[in-house]
């Protein structure tokens, strides 16, 4: 562990973000001042420009670039929105305040920059991410989703009022919320030797109650469905900074499988960003083959499930490891799915006593 280095890195990053935002403003100012219509170039995020990169083991953007020019009537409004969003982000970051996506949408009205809807405002924020290469959490903009963590990890806050304060993440047995404060905290110390990410809240609580963190020396992370970006970033940091292997447990269906995949290789939507992936993380279950081997209670896969399976089968991320294709084929064959809670049919502790150790061993 090298806590010193990482503490400073969090502060350094904030400075970089501010400089980058300021430069964007300066560049536009200059173009106008010299009598040109200002324009901004950025990599295209259209589907044809998204490639799977086996080296990074995630989607990345290709060489195609788009130009947003204030000369073009169709670009004019989004261009203005982008500059405003940059300004708003600058103020947030420099004042060390956070904001939700919803706040951004409303705050724009003070500047007569009304967005048509939340979607439009979210798109512009993604544009800003793409232009500058930082993620919205770097601009202190967070979505509302909340996930949680539990285990022997001591962190040190960097948020105002808590600078330097530490907290051990076992201190609250309901789990510690992953919010802006935790995301921006530095890691101080841990005795854990692995990370277990869990899709469902019920199982997260069960694991805490059954002392999985102690019995398996693990930091438990609740993704609460598809993991929010901040949580993915947090898991990535646990993996990279603390060198902890990551095991992901999800429901046994195409959607659960994909929750694991997004933690591992990221999503196409975030092809313009790095550091959100954990390429070495493992999907440890519930696999389709587990459904068969453990004779779990199941529901039939419906049409939408099957359609999703066919999509995933063709997805380059699913071609990396033969495990994925095998499980997809098994799902297609058995046409059934099972939830994590399905193990309750063997009693509440079966999943911890039997299933978990077996799967951790199997996917080591």
């Amino acid at each position: 562990m090298e806590p010193k280095e990482y503490r400073s890195s969090i502060m350094e990053r904030r400075k970089e973000v501010l400089a980058s935002l300021g430069n964007l403003g300066a560049k536009i100012y200059e173009q106008i001042d010299r009598g040109f219509f200002p324009s901004i170039e950025m990599p295209s995020r259209s589907t044809e420009n998204i490639y799977y990169d086996p080296k990074f083991r995630q989607y990345i953007l290709g060489d195609k670039r788009v130009k947003r020019s204030a000369r073009n009537i169709r670009h004019l409004k989004p261009f203005a929105q982008l500059v405003w969003t940059a300004l708003f982000s600058y103020e947030l970051t420099s004042q060390r305040k956070t904001s939700t996506l919803r706040d951004v949408y409303y705050s724009a009205q003070a500047y007569e920059m009304t967005f048509k809807d939340q979607q439009e405002s979210n798109n512009i924020i993604t544009d800003l991410e793409t232009v500058l290469g930082f993620s919205r959490e770097d601009f202190n903009i967070f979505p509302e989703e909340r996930s949680a963590v539990f285990g022997d990890l001591t962190i040190s806050y960097t948020v105002p009022g808590y600078e330097g304060k530490t907290l051990n993440l076992t201190s609250h047995p309901d789990g510690v919320m992953i919010g802006p404060a935790l995301t921006s905290a530095d890691f101080v110390e841990t005795s854990a030797d692995k990370v277990i990410a869990i899709e469902k809240g019920g199982l997260f609580t069960r694991f805490i109650e059954e002392n999985v963190h102690k019995k398996f020396n693990a930091i438990l992370v609740l993704t609460a469905g598809q993991a929010p970006r901040a949580t993915r970033h947090f898991i990535g940091r646990l993996n990279r900074e603390l060198r902890l292997p990551v095991y992901v447990f999800t429901d046994g269906d195409p959607w659960g499988m994909h929750i694991a995949m997004v933690i591992i290789s990221g999503s196409a939507n975030a092809a313009h960003l790095r550091d959100l992936t954990t390429p070495d993380a493992k999907w440890s279950g519930v696999w389709a083959t587990d459904i068969v081997n453990y004779k779990l209670p199941t529901d039939p896969l419906d049409e939408i499930d099957m359609k999703r399976l066919y999509e995933l089968q063709k997805d380059p991320r699913y071609k990396e490891d033969p495990l994925w294709q095998r499980e997809i084929k098994t799902f297609m064959k058995i046409k059934r799915k099972a939830e994590q809670e399905a193990f309750s049919r063997y009693g509440l502790t079966y999943i911890v006593d039997e299933y978990l150790p077996a799967k951790l061993e199997e996917t080591k």
């Binding site: 403003g25 106008i32 009598g35 200002p38 009537i73 409004k77 203005a80 500059v83």
Partner: protein
């Protein structure tokens, strides 16, 4: 053992027994059909002289017939060509007799409607019909008639002759019938409105049983050319027709036979055809065997080089008149009309005319208003089965920026020497591929026109908005970027705003 008896019945008797199929299904339909059939005969009578029609229709209450039906007297007057006195009894008192069996476009293709109305009146009230007519010469003739249904012959009850001092010309038909006017009223009024739309040169007056007066005034005195009689087109002949022509022809060789009895067949075409079919030009048509006649029919259908029929036997409304009619009755903001070139189905020439109208007084109802016409007759019943409606529903209107929630009316008019009705009641047109294709092509043309209209309107709006956008956002960009860059005041954007005005069109 069962005994089967055989007998012959007259044509009147057949239709008397089967009046459903001619549209006289019930008291409501019957009164509507009677009005319609007589108005159409009157329109035909005026148009054949190219006189702007003046038609007066009066329905008057005569008494109760049953709980739901009444007896009405129907009177229809026109300023048409008149009927020669010797033909009056048969023309109004004998089924399958009349002037409508020629190859030219007329409204009443079945030659049946007017007489069915009189027959129906007679069946339900047993009153004679009164016919007054003059061809404009010195006399006016009046007949009181009944129809002898079993023999299909008129019975003349009375006949009077008057001096025609004022040179009146026209026909007046008056008879009683049972009906249910209250229920028929909406369709009758709609019928007059739509008739006025495709006959914008006609004055129509209707006095209803309550004494209410409905007047549809002409918007023009221009009239379409009346249709001419024509020879049959080679694609439309069958063995029966060939045989009839051979029977009556004075020509002694095939070349002359073809040139003189067929529509748009001249020396060159006839020669080419005879070569194609391997028939000697000098062969006497009367010498053709049955097998040769059958073969001749098939060859006529196979030969590709006959010219399409010309429109001389048809009397379409024409784009100008159609436009006039639509503007007069629908009062839209915009109208596009189109007349297709003549086409044929099974050898019958036909012309499709279409119009599309937008806005103005056309209501917005979540679907197109569809007006269907055939030989200038409005078709009001069984809309769903009509070929026009099928074509309209199958069209990809979005391609033309048109959607059913716009205030849009569509008019389709088919004229033909033989409109392919599916019923004698003339309610809807059968789905023939040739007809379908012409309607579709016509609709596409007017759809393109309305698209241009809608696009143009959009364009003007857009230009106005465009300058607004620049004036709104450029100052903001300047302001935000300055703050972000830490400058005290925004950069000057006047130059940029000027250039937008100079090169106004870019980015649109």
């Amino acid at each position: 053992m069962a005994q089967v008896t055989f007998e012959e019945i007259s044509a009147s008797d057949f239709f008397y027994r089967n009046r459903d199929i001619a549209g006289f299904t019930n008291p409501t339909r019957a009164i509507f059909a009677a009005v319609r059939e007589l108005v159409e005969n009157s329109l035909d009578a005026a148009e054949s002289l190219k006189i702007p029609p003046e038609i007066y229709v009066r329905l008057s209450f005569e008494g109760e017939a049953s709980k739901e039906t009444q007896i009405y007297k129907l009177r229809v007057e026109d300023n048409g060509i008149g009927v020669p006195p010797r033909h009056i009894p048969s023309a109004f008192g004998q089924v399958l007799f009349g002037s409508k069996y020629k190859l030219k476009q007329q409204r009443g293709t079945f030659g049946l409607g007017g007489k069915m109305a009189i027959l129906y009146g007679q069946i339900t009230t047993h009153q004679p019909a009164t016919i007054i007519s003059s061809t404009g010469m010195s006399k006016i003739y009046m007949y009181k008639l009944l129809i002898d249904i079993q023999r299909n012959r008129p019975i003349i009850l009375d006949r009077k002759v008057f001096l025609n001092k004022e040179g009146w010309r026209g026909t007046i038909v008056e008879f009683s019938l049972e009906g249910d006017y209250l229920r028929a009223m909406p369709k009758i009024l709609e019928y007059f409105k739509q008739t006025a739309m495709v006959n914008p040169y006609a004055n129509l007056t209707f006095v209803d049983p309550k004494g209410r007066l409905y007047k549809f005034i002409r918007a023009t005195t221009v009239m379409p050319d009346p249709p001419k009689e024509t020879l049959p087109h080679p694609y439309g002949v069958d063995v029966e027709l060939l045989q009839r022509l051979i029977q009556i022809t004075p020509y002694k060789n095939m070349l002359e036979f073809l040139k003189n009895h067929f529509h748009r067949v001249g020396e060159i075409t006839a020669t080419k055809f005879l070569e194609f079919s391997g028939i000697s030009p000098s062969k006497n048509p009367k010498r053709l065997s049955h097998e040769e006649i059958v073969r001749l029919m098939h060859m006529l259908k196979k030969f590709k080089e006959f010219l399409p029929p010309d429109a001389s036997c048809l009397s379409p409304l024409g784009e100008e008149l159609l436009k006039t009619g639509v503007l007069k009755e629908l009062k839209p903001e915009f109208v596009a009309v189109h007349q297709r070139k003549p086409a044929t189905y099974a050898g019958h020439p036909f012309i499709v005319e279409v119009a599309i109208a937008y806005g103005g007084e056309i209501p917005q109802r979540g679907g197109f208003l569809i007006y269907r016409f055939a030989n200038r007759i409005p078709l009001l019943y069984d809309e769903a089965s009509d070929v026009s409606v099928k074509v309209i529903n199958a069209m990809n209107w979005r391609r033309y920026k048109v959607s059913p929630d716009m205030p849009i009316a569509i008019v389709v008019h088919i004229c033909s020497t033989k409109v392919p009705y599916k019923t004698v009641g003339k309610e809807f047109i059968a789905d023939r591929p040739e007809v379908r294709r012409e309607i579709a092509n016509g609709l596409r043309e007017v759809a393109r026109q309305i698209q241009r209209f809608l696009t143009r309107r959009e364009h003007v709006d857009r230009e106005r908005k465009r300058l607004g956008v620049f004036s709104k956002y450029l100052p903001k960009i300047a302001h935000f970027s300055a703050k972000l860059a830490g400058k005290e005041k925004p950069p000057d954007i006047e130059k940029l705003l000027r250039s937008v005005k100079r090169f106004g069109a870019e980015g649109v």
